[in-house]
Symmetry: C2
Subunit: 320 residues, 2 copies
């Protein structure tokens, strides 16, 4: 299949997981007695920072790319992204021996450009506006016949990202709640589906920076609300939802909780210090939102947290 | 037994491993395709940065403390240290429900003092000289009857540290060489013994900062040579060997290789970036020494590297 036209079923998610398994890391789940004591909870951290390319994005990109039919695949794949999705598409395309055309803004971080190059992606630079990115991608697709791989608003992507919560649930088994960061909502909607199918009595809660609360507002209004500010340190979460991800979110996600910027930095540093792992600021948003919660809801609960990636510029740490 | 008076046999090491297993993490072994490609080797990193208390030191301390007879144990244990050994002794003593008396210099890093306090150790501050540390420890032992737990020059400690290479060998099986950092030599001599018993055709190589090359000189001269300078960034390796560790080293270690300071920083950053884990500068010394090696010896080999710990001050990173 080139496309998946319905909300992924459990069978679709299992099929996706099987398809991508040879190419992804079954990432470990870590915990820390000190953090559990500090938050009066049992926290289980699913470490997608250890995934190839440094983030969960490889799961969705691999599923989308490996499920292309032979003719489409030979023409290659394209996307526009300045972040982890670009690296994931380039990496998965190389594993599939097909070309990857990546449109990147001229101001993309050097480290991300290097990453895409390292994985063999062909880069097309454009002005740093969404319009220029989309136009350049269309031009590249017009010339090459490549298939566009959307970073989140695509059921193949969602089914791939769902494999992450599936692994977490298979490993930990009893979880009262899974807290997942939300940007475009690909990981969140995949997590919500896997949890709905495999742990139906558990809740999925989305965590978002208070400074980029578009998912919170979209969840309330029922339509995709734009991001109004991109100043949050959680650079992976500055994206609006898509129609598909919002739809799944409204059906299967319990609530959206918000995290203050200072709590995001504090939570990020706590995870570095206590788990001894490198995570991006976006990953720290769930723990930060738990930190900011005053309802007592999380006390004593078994909580799964998805750590989405570890691509950080070590020269610019947020506590410096 | 309160003491082990001979070089640990395989049975001693197995017994130590069984004794401490319920209290330690069986730490994961990580690898990175990118690092393998960069160094033309197959590198297997044993991650003791994920050990409780953040370092391998817990293995030796637990073995020494858990093998005390009941009467000695009740009087508690004592040590002097400003580093990872202090935290390990405090943690293991609490697990054994006995008091830990830790002598620390007044200038010990605040984070290490907090660590010892967190694990319930009773701290006795002294002037920051070796003489004051030893005198204060003697006073405390005189008053309490506590047993002194040496950080490395003790066969119980060596047998405990040997469990780390034992796990690495059990997991990876085929290793041509294990490269291990050397400070006091507890981990190194344990690693050399486990490798001698379990992988007799493999080599153990010690890695040391060129700026603190006392083990290199001791290995050549056959007697314990003093550390002449403590300026290396690898703060865990500023210690001289002991008689027991040098003796084992001379029998079972192939060679000592040296690493430049700039290579240590470079290797540390590479491990942070590629493995997405937090390690101390001391851990980076083996990879740095491999980087500095010009003989071609390591090319194509299966190499085990022990990452000793992850207790780093995140406000003072060496590349800043």
């Amino acid at each position: 299949m080139n496309h998946l036209n319905t909300v992924p079923s459990l069978a679709h998610i299992q099929e996706a997981h099987q398809r991508i398994s040879p190419f992804i890391v079954r990432t470990p789940v870590l915990h820390s007695d000190a953090l559990n004591k500090m938050f009066h909870t049992h926290l289980f951290f699913k470490c997608e920072n250890f995934q190839h390319t440094g983030s969960f994005k490889l799961r969705g990109a691999s599923n989308a790319i490996f499920s292309l039919d032979e003719e489409s695949a030979q023409k290659g794949v394209a996307t526009h992204s300045s972040g982890n999705h670009a690296q994931a598409v380039a990496y998965a395309a190389r594993k599939h021996s097909i070309p990857a055309y990546i449109v990147m803004p001229t101001n993309a971080p050097k480290i991300k450009i290097e990453g895409v190059k390292e994985y063999g992606g062909q880069i097309f630079f454009c002005e740093p506006t969404l319009e220029a990115r989309e136009r350049t991608a269309e031009e590249v697709i017009g010339k090459t016949g490549a298939t566009f791989i959307h970073p989140f608003n695509d059921y193949r992507i969602i089914a791939g990202q769902a494999s992450c919560a599936k692994e977490l649930i298979e490993e930990v088994k009893l979880l009262d709640v899974i807290v997942c960061p939300v940007g475009g909502g690909g990981l969140l909607s995949g997590t919500a589906l896997s949890t709905h199918y495999l742990l139906p009595h558990s809740q999925v809660i989305a965590a978002e920076p208070a400074l980029a609360d578009d998912a919170f507002r979209s969840f309330q209004s029922g339509k995709v609300e734009p991001v109004l500010s991109t100043v949050t340190i959680a650079d992976g979460l500055r994206t609006s939802l898509g129609e598909k991800t919002l739809d799944i979110m409204q059906k299967y996600v319990s609530s959206v909780i918000l995290a203050k910027e200072e709590s995001i930095v504090k939570a990020m540093r706590l995870i570095w210090e206590r788990l001894k792992i490198i995570i991006e600021p976006s990953c720290a948003v769930p723990l930060a939102a738990i930190m900011d919660d005053t309802s007592g809801f999380f006390q004593g609960k078994q909580i799964g947290i998805i750590l989405t990636g570890g691509n950080v510029d070590l020269d610019k740490l947020p506590w410096q």
